[in-house]
């Protein structure tokens, strides 16, 4: 958007461009990624239950016993904290890179690559840090 002067146009109109363009992405990331994690937890557990029961590999009682034995509810908190942090990273880093990119098509593609690389490394580092802090 900056390359095609659209961000300048927002600023000239008197609109806080970072607030208008970046903030909604970060809010959606930190709310929707934990929601996706919750949905994926529910689907994987219920999918395992249905698959195991219907195929006859395990009985429903055995499955329920298996997933509840030694279950530590605190791991859900850790998963959601990680989802929150990852959601922040995967929205804020690309949004920052996209907002401040200058030049043309080459610089935009370089910024995209940089955004992916920084996001991936940040997620790895934060994954380690959160695990060390919470577990």
């Amino acid at each position: 958007m900056r390359v095609t002067e659209q961000i300048d146009a927002l600023e000239i109109m008197g609109i806080n461009a970072p607030g208008y363009l970046i903030l909604p992405k970060i809010i959606s990331g930190i709310t929707m990624v934990p929601m996706l994690v919750i949905i994926s937890m529910f689907l994987s557990i219920s999918g395992g239950y249905l698959g195991g029961s219907l195929s006859g590999a395990v009985t429903p009682a055995e499955y329920l016993q298996g997933i509840t034995t030694d279950f530590n509810p605190y791991t859900i908190v850790v998963a959601l904290v990680k989802a929150f942090v990852f959601g922040f990273i995967i929205t804020s880093v690309p949004a920052y890179e996209g907002f401040y990119v200058r030049g043309g098509a080459l610089e935009v593609s370089q910024a995209s690559t940089r955004a992916v690389v920084i996001s991936c490394i940040s997620i790895l580092v934060c994954d380690y840090l959160v695990t060390q802090l919470l577990l």
Partner: protein
């Protein structure tokens, strides 16, 4: 009226503007002209606050824009309309949504009122009925006209145009120039056009500021520009064979 006083601006030690001053009156088309790298776009960006000048001041009807806080600048910017060199239309929005965008952000008009305003602006730039098209479906000239329609949607007191004719054929360029001049006279805006197009200079230049290597070399009107003895200005004005031939003939 917009007044710039002694504007200096440099980038990484490279002086781009070296003490530019000038007064741009309302209701007339003011042009900032000069060759590539003369500092005209930098001056425009300093005036609208996209660049912060190193020193000097920009006065909007006496209000000094340069020392203003972000919030104070927003109030002034609501009175500014700007046409960008590449039109800067929002790709994901239709023509209607592009023009309605400032109205959505800064007014509490009903949808019907906003739509009426959009249609008025589109009619004014001769694009009535093009509401639902996307920028990718428009020609260069149409994009410029939508850019002008968006710029005037908030009824601005100050209208800035950054090279409105770049990339346009001569006939469309004249249409855009005439439209800018008509709107300036109709709405009594203080209009500043950055250009190096000599057709624009001769056609709509009520007041012209000529920049060369970051300095103001000359100011005057399109009636006076061909009759100066300033070498740098003559080199610029009569750079093309057509202008040279016209000068020799008349």
């Amino acid at each position: 009226m917009i007044e710039v006083k002694d504007i200096y601006k440099s980038f990484s030690g490279n002086d781009v503007l070296k003490g530019i001053s000038g007064k741009f009156e309302e209701g007339v088309t003011n042009l900032i002209i000069g060759g590539s790298g003369s500092g005209k776009t930098t001056l425009l960006k300093c005036m609208v606050g996209l660049h912060q000048p190193d020193s000097g001041s920009v006065l909007y009807d006496g209000r000094d824009f340069t020392p203003m806080t972000y919030e104070q600048r927003i109030e002034v910017r609501k009175e500014i309309g700007m046409l960008f060199q590449g039109s800067a239309l929002f790709d994901s929005m239709t023509v209607e949504d592009n023009i309605m965008f400032p109205l959505n952000m800064f007014t509490d008009q009903t949808r019907k009122e906003k739509l009426e305003r959009v249609n008025f602006c589109l009619e004014r730039v001769n694009l009535a009925g093009k509401n639902k098209l996307f920028p990718a479906e428009l020609s260069g000239g149409m994009k410029k006209r939508v850019g002008i329609a968006r710029a005037i949607s908030m009824n601005p007191k100050y209208l800035f145009c950054d090279e409105p004719n770049s990339g346009l054929d001569p006939k469309t360029s004249i249409v855009i120039d005439e439209l800018i001049q008509e709107l300036t006279e109709e709405f009594k805006t203080t209009t500043i056009v950055v250009t190096h197009d000599m057709n624009s200079v001769m056609g709509i230049g009520d007041y012209i500021l000529f920049l060369h290597e970051g300095k103001k070399f000359w100011e005057g009107s399109n009636k006076e520009i061909a009759h100066t003895d300033i070498k740098e200005l003559n080199d610029f004005v009569f750079a093309s064979r057509f202008m040279k031939a016209a000068k020799d003939k008349f």
